[in-house]
């Protein structure tokens, strides 16, 4: 079976990639770029870890990273590269695919090997459909974060490899870590999500109380965060937001455009509260309540 190389600058996602890689081949080569800790973690997860070293190589320089990984590929027999489909990984994916002459699929949510062919599942048509696709030729596949568990501990190896690169003219002036809302709605077991049916920002307090009472988090459709700015972008569910799989999703005043539903359709139980009896969201809800969401929030708070 095809040799597999995995790379993510994010240690958690790199360990997830090792799990995915083992679906293709037991022998996994995992890369780190100038990062000792990551290289250690990879080898302790059973991979053949290679630490790529070059004093001037920074992950912000996508062109240089792609060139460096190509040099490793030339020395290792591998025709499948797995990256993480976070922003850094996606930005690298196209560039590395071009360097490799590979076909590229990003945001892959699930992968299956059938008769030697790697079948990838990803959203298509804005999330309206799920496409099953495979690549003919060299393959670069970027896996959506948190789609697979991290690899456990196993015996691996660790080596270093120096590369030659040409810096491409990208200089990092500053990195400002995100402050403020650090909520992780993808990890929440219960989500209370609000859409444009929420009348005003003042109503959010009640929704937050309800979410707290349920032991969950508040989430929203995109316009609530980007247009109205009532909630942070960390809380957006949907195609360009988070893909969540909670046990319970309580959807309040959400009409149910596919760009939203693609981020919640894997929930175990979906409740839709809406004044519109024909809202699209009702077709993908387990429980439908045609009612004013503000009143339902108050009543739920009292009666739970």
């Amino acid at each position: 079976m095809a040799g597999v190389i995995v790379y993510s600058a994010n240690p958690e996602l790199a360990l997830e990639l090792i799990t995915v890689a083992r679906l293709i081949n037991d022998k996994v080569v995992a890369l780190s770029i100038n990062d000792d800790q990551l290289a250690q973690a990879l080898s302790q997860a059973g991979a053949q870890a290679i630490k790529i070293t070059h004093p001037d190589l920074v992950v912000a320089d996508t062109a240089a990273v792609a060139a460096a990984i190509k040099q490793v590929l030339d020395g290792v027999q591998a025709d499948v590269v797995l990256l993480s489909s976070d922003r850094r990984g996606k930005e690298l994916a196209g560039r590395l695919a071009q360097v490799m002459g590979a076909g590229c699929l990003t945001d892959v949510a699930a992968l299956e090997v059938k008769e030697g062919q790697i079948e990838c599942q990803r959203n298509a048509l804005g999330g309206a459909t799920i496409a099953v696709q495979c690549i003919e030729g060299p393959q670069l596949i970027a896996i959506r974060p948190r789609s697979y568990p991290a690899a456990g501990t196993a015996a691996g190896s660790l080596e270093e490899m120096a590369v030659e690169i040409k810096a491409s003219g990208v200089k990092v002036l500053e990195f400002k870590a995100k402050v403020g809302d650090k909520v992780d709605i993808e990890a929440a077991e219960t989500l209370v999500a609000v859409g444009q049916g929420l009348s005003d920002e003042g109503q959010l307090a009640g929704v937050q109380d309800l979410a707290a009472k349920l032991g969950g988090e508040v989430a929203c459709s995109k316009p609530v965060a980007t247009d109205k700015k009532w909630l942070s972008e960390e809380r957006i569910i949907g195609l360009s937001g988070k893909k969540c799989k909670p046990q319970l999703a309580l959807l309040l005043g959400i009409s149910g455009q596919v760009q939203f539903t693609v981020g919640i359709r894997d929930a175990k139980v979906i409740v839709a509260v809406n004044t519109d009896e024909n809202a699209a969201i009702n077709y993908m809800a387990d429980y439908i309540m045609q009612a004013d969401l503000h009143q339902v929030v108050q009543e739920l708070k009292q009666k739970l």
Binding site: A60, K171, R265, Y287, K303
Partner: protein, 249 residues
């Protein structure tokens, strides 16, 4: 300095219907990618400060000539189009060399802008591929772009923070969907759009060797099965009871 904005013609996603889990694309009008419009707006704003021309670049079937008017109305000065039916549903490995070759034919390009992902596939690989083919640096997920002499100062917004980078132009940049609010063209601008200059090339005029490229094979493309219960509940009490039975509260 000129700014190229790559825009993709896609089916209007709001109008796609699903029948027996199959997407129905017949009769669905074409539109430009949603985030591509943010890229265009970013270009027009920079042009208003720095001067130069905004050139919208698109490759697809012949309908693109009509679809691109929307971009010309929203502030692009001219269009550069590569038309061929085979391009319409092609993937990044085929489109990238076409766009790269087209960009080589445009003078004095300082910035090449893409949306972070197309509206339909959201694959986000084309900008990176084009940057590689042109041997240019790239910055993805931009939430802010400023120009200082021959350098661009760009904020790359990542999941865990903002990275401020300085990069020598020309550079390929992909922008986030929330970098700006695209303008809505006035009626006059829409009427004038048809008269703006357009350079239209047929694919074979680019004289590219597009053989031997990797292929993406689509085995199936279906709407997910929705086996939801769709039970109507009349009261909050009833809802609470149902959720307790489900074991989720």
């Amino acid at each position: 300095m000129n700014i190229v904005v790559a825009m993709k013609q896609i089916p209007d996603l709001q109008q796609i219907r699903i029948r027996q889990r199959q997407p129905v694309l017949d009769g669905v009008p074409a539109a430009l990618g949603i985030i591509d419009k943010n890229a265009l707006e970013a270009a027009v704003l920079l042009k208003e400060e720095e001067g130069g021309q905004v050139i919208v670049l698109s490759a697809g079937n012949e309908e693109v000539e009509e679809t691109v008017k929307e971009a010309l109305a929203a502030g692009a000065d001219q269009a550069f189009l590569v038309l061929d039916d085979s391009i319409e549903n092609a993937d990044g490995s085929l489109k990238a060399p076409i766009l790269a070759e087209a960009i080589k034919k445009i003078d004095d390009v300082g910035l090449i802008l893409f949306g972070e992902g197309s509206g339909d596939n959201y694959s986000g690989q084309l900008g990176s591929r084009v940057a590689e083919l042109l041997g240019l640096p790239q910055v993805g997920y931009a939430s802010r772009i400023q120009i200082q002499d021959s350098q661009a100062i760009i904020t790359r917004s990542l999941e865990d923070g903002d990275e401020l980078v300085k990069v020598t132009m020309p550079v390929v940049v992909s922008v986030l969907g929330d970098i700006n609010e695209p303008r809505i063209p006035s009626v006059t601008q829409i009427l004038k759009a048809g008269r703006k200059p357009k350079e239209v090339l047929e694919l074979d005029e680019l004289e590219l060797d597009l053989s031997g490229l990797p292929q993406i094979k689509t085995l199936s493309n279906l709407a997910p099965e929705t086996n939801r219960k769709q039970v109507k509940v009349g009261s909050v009490e009833e809802l609470i009871q149902a959720l307790k039975t489900e074991g989720v509260i």
